[in-house]
Amino acid sequence: MKETKHQLLRAVLLAGAAVLAFPLTAAAQDLKAAMIYVGPVGDAGWTYRHDVARQCIEEQGVETAYVETVPETPDVVNVQNDFLSQGYDMIFATAFGYQPFTQQVAQANPDKHFFGITPTIAPADNILNFYGKLWDGRYLTGLVAGAMTESNKIGFVAAQPIPTVIAGLNAFTLGARAVNPDVTVEVVWTLSWYDPAAEKQAATALVEGGADVIAQHQDTPSAVIGASEKGAWAIGSESDMTAFAPERVLTGTVWDWCPFYSKAVEMVRDGSFAPGEFYGGLDDGTVSLAPLNSAVPADVATQVKDAQAAIIAGELDYWAGPIVSNEGNEVVAAGATLGIADINGMNWLVEGVSGSLPN
Amino acid sequence: MQTRPLVSFRGVNKSFGALQANVDVSFDLRPGSILALLGENGAGKSTIMNVLAGLYVPDSGHIEVDGERLALGSPRASVAAGVGMVHQQFRLVESLSGFENISLALHGGRILQPRSADAELKALMEELGFNIDLSTPVHAMSLARRQQLEILRTIAAGARVLVLDEPTSVLSAVETHGLFAIMRRIVASGRSVILISHKLTEVLEVADEVVVMRGGRVVHKGHTAGADPDALSRHIVGDRSFTSDARPERETGDIVLRVNKLNVADHRGATVVHEADFAVRSGEVVAILGVTGNGQTELMEAIGGLRRPMSGLVEAPRHNKRRAFAYIPAQHLGTALAPGLVLRENAILGHQRRLGGRGWLQRHVLNARAGHVKGRFGVRIDEHEPVRRLSGGNLQRVVLGRELLDDPSLIVADYPTRGLDVASAAQIRSALVAAAQKGAGVLLSSEEISESLAIATRVLVMHGGEVVADLPAAEADRARVGRLMTRGRETE
């Protein structure tokens, strides 16, 4: 009787140990990369694009896993620690707000590699933060929007008033006014990265206010859907949102993190990892445009194509002064331009934007 | 002729933990008879009736109805066998009319309900002598009407065995006789009644047979015809003897309670006490007599601080603006006692700010008080048990024990003996008299004329919300008080 009890106990212990130990021993020879997402992979936007990149490096032989909908709180520490306990070597923490928590874990695990979203506020020797020059793509979509609007009123549904969003909005406005100086861009802040209902409502309200093109910086295609239902043109963001309204989507900026993820894997494999910041752009394909709608005239398409080539070649710098803010202040003097640090601290809206930064 | 019994209890045992609530309970109920079930509080009457109703599963034993074994522990089976209970607390939906309540019982939650009484129901009412307007909503009915409705509903639902739990405790004398008339017609129709009661005189008046329980056992079975009340009393209380009541013999002293032109409204806002104006002196036992519902309870509540008077003044002993005298309200559980709190905690209710300790309750003080409260009237309960488990009589003893603890100079007691068995009631009357003897002023309300007259030094009669008479005990005889209670005046 007593013996069977012991046997049973031993069996249970063994089973438990096997469960705990199994992931540690498996596939230790090759790289394992973990992704932490701020939203659900089904958002069709920011998180979805990172998940596509995850699948991309998985095809390159990297074992991957992800955890979605992790808030920007100390939970990130728990999730990262759990990944590390499971033998993961690389952690992609794909939200800006994860940085302070990533820093804690990174400092405690100097032999692992961490990748976060710029701008860097919490550095460590094993953290490389990345982002793309999204604003370049936004400038190009601005060219399309400026050419297509008839009411000269363009709507922009924006998530949070943070520099990358502000810079994208400003670049978009500069692009639109480059082809159509009469354009005003009206901005609505949803103050959320993931709130499909509010995003759609904002787009609808903008159309009702007279806008006939709706652009966005949101993680979901809700604004695109809202705009198309009201008969306006829509410009997507984050991923190719054409499928959500094939007739009405003009184009959009598309993130492709596969180039960077592949590069990161390579760096870790060959030992060339260096901490700091990395910005992808139109040149390496991190930022690109969704296919243009057939309704876009050929001359506009050509203009967009030329501008893209010029930006990549460094011949076109739309941030060159003079630039005046929508409050009338000269924010970039004649002869000056903006570097990444300036863009990362951007807290003004360019002339032509109707609206203000919520405070 | 020996007829087959309608219901037979055969050796029923039921215990709750260590408490043996029913021990080998066996007796028969014959068809067409009224059987009185007598016993003190906690004698096991309610337990055996709850077994009959299917609410409790007995540990052993069984019950036969018409010679068939009753499926135990199933309220549905009991109802199907024809058992109907009328509890002290009525189970009526107050917002519905009388007929709707009956219909609800007969047809359950059926969506399409008949709208008025059918011929069958009317015939039943005729046969049994019910006189209720079924279209009246229940909340507008008097307690006596509600009771009739409850009985009618139970019989209409098919009851052949009607259990009435202390039905007369809420009724006036006139209403009681009305109820007895209905009971006699019910048994004449072939149904039977089990009457649970404390009141020997009533039992001897209406019942055919009597079963006395004590300590969970049946100690006496017999016919009421020719029964000796004193012998029954001895069966009920056992060998214990209790002292007879006597008035306090003491010079009256200072005024301890002054009620000055007091007007009080009930919960609907209707004035139910008009210009009450009297005083109680130390050493007095003042009885307020009146037919139930003539403002006594509201008056007592206004004095005790449970009800804010509309106008007028109550001068009584206070400590930091809080009541500092004994007040025994008519309702114990939920008012004078917190049902979910244990005895130790209930033993300081109302006194918690007079015990010292600067915001802390000292364990030794609590224990001492709990000991006194239990000891005063002999309540047996674990101090760490919630008091909701206590029987009605024990609840009353706990409240009295607590309220009399600090030798209060004033005792206000609303129906202090209601629902108590003979011995307990005598014990409590003696305690009140003893307190007055030691110098307290006592104000008590009661519906029992003779009990009150036995101990009161003065009698106030209330009628229609007014104090219609203020009589010294010597001038208060039963007949005179009875006339005042029912008519508000002495002349014909």
Binding site: G16, N78, N81, P100, I121 | R69
Partner: protein
């Protein structure tokens, strides 16, 4: 002949002993894991992998254990507060908002004291400011209840949104850290206002939580105010009879609840996030309602339940790490929680075998 025995639920007449109730919760947990396993099998997941991950993510390592204990602190403190108010049958649905206001109060102190202020001064000040802010926020609902009879369930619920938006406004505007590029973050609070680590990654908030649980036990057992709260909760009319000022009780009950939730917010600021931010709490104040209920308001049971709840949350992430789809993980968490909840509720009943009446002997 033997009939099929039938069973029915009967309310328990005797009060359950603590050991007996612990047994019920334990059997509830076992039931929970059995149901959870069935669910996993039906959805085609590996039961051992899933439960292994749940265990690993919550208690499986020093890091996991630290994360779980730290997470239990805000949940436990809010639950103690909710239980305190419920002594008087006051429903505090506003712990979440009170937590945010507590975070606001603590951050206000932690951001504005001179950077070199000693911890001896800064930490008590920050915690006290958090408690006061939380209590003040709860008092808004308490005053409305005491003097205007406004239902506290609705007011405390609605005040949550105001508090969360208020913190959102602060971190987007006046208190936003210029160094974090106007992300919805404040700067970090000064080092003196940060609560130290106890051991490994566990911060000293755990000690505060335990102290508060003990304090609640003492209040329950020996304080007059604890007595009056329970009395008013059990029988409001008995409180009136006992000469208790019911308005004062409402203020103390809800104010105390707010104080504890505010303390939870202050500890989150000084121990976990170190800065004020939007999304500070993933709903600790609401989880605490469930925890307080499962623990039936008992302080020690609240400690245990909040640790287990935190374990379930952290284990949920580990489920994903081990490849269990997030939706399955979330449903599994819900199944486990509901089973324990049901088991504790049924604990007030007992199953009784009913002898069949028609049985011939």
């Amino acid at each position: 002949m033997i009939g099929i025995p039938s069973f029915r639920l009967e309310p328990r007449l005797e009060a359950g002993r603590p050991s007996g109730q612990a047994l019920q919760v334990l059997s509830g947990a076992v039931l929970a894991f059995v149901l959870g396993a069935l669910f996993l099998i039906v959805t085609g997941e590996d039961v051992l992998v899933a439960y292994g991950a749940l265990l690993r993510g919550s208690f499986g390592s020093v890091n996991a254990l630290s994360g779980t204990l730290n997470k239990a602190v805000p949940i436990g403190l809010c639950a103690l507060g909710i239980a305190f108010a419920y002594r008087a049958r006051l429903w505090n649905i506003g712990a979440e908002g009170q937590l945010y206001m507590g975070a606001f109060g603590a951050a206000g102190v932690g951001l504005h004291l001179p950077a070199d202020t000693s911890a001896v001064i800064a930490l008590p000040l920050a915690l006290a400011a958090g408690m006061l802010a939380g209590a003040a926020w709860a008092l808004v609902a308490a005053l409305l209840k005491a003097y205007r009879g406004v239902n506290e369930i609705l007011t405390t619920l609605m005040l949550n949104y105001i508090a969360i938006l208020w913190v959102g406004y602060l971190v987007n505007g006046p208190w936003s850290d210029p160094l974090v590029f106007s992300f919805p973050y404040s700067a970090a609070v000064i080092p003196g206002a940060q609560i130290g680590k106890l051991f490994f990654g566990v911060h000293a908030g755990l000690v505060v939580l335990c102290l508060m649980a003990v304090l609640l036990i003492v209040i329950d057992r020996s304080s007059r105010i604890g007595y009056e709260l329970r009395l008013a909760g059990d029988a409001p009319r008995a409180a009136l009879y006992g000469g208790i000022n019911q308005r004062k009780l409402v203020l103390i009950g809800l104010g105390g609840a707010g104080l504890l939730a505010g303390l939870a917010g202050a500890i989150e600021i000084s121990g976990a996030t170190l800065r004020l931010q939007s999304g500070l709490s993933p709903g600790y104040g609401f989880m605490a309602i469930l925890v307080a209920w499962i623990a039936q308001g008992r302080p020690l049971a609240i400690l245990l339940a909040s640790v287990l709840y935190a374990a379930l949350l952290n284990g949920g992430f580990a489920l994903q790490v081990s490849g269990v789809p997030p939706a399955i993980g979330t449903i599994l968490q819900a199944v486990l929680l509901l089973s324990v909840f049901a088991a504790t509720t049924f604990g007030t009943y007992r199953l009784r075998r009913v002898p069949t009446g028609s049985l011939a002997t």
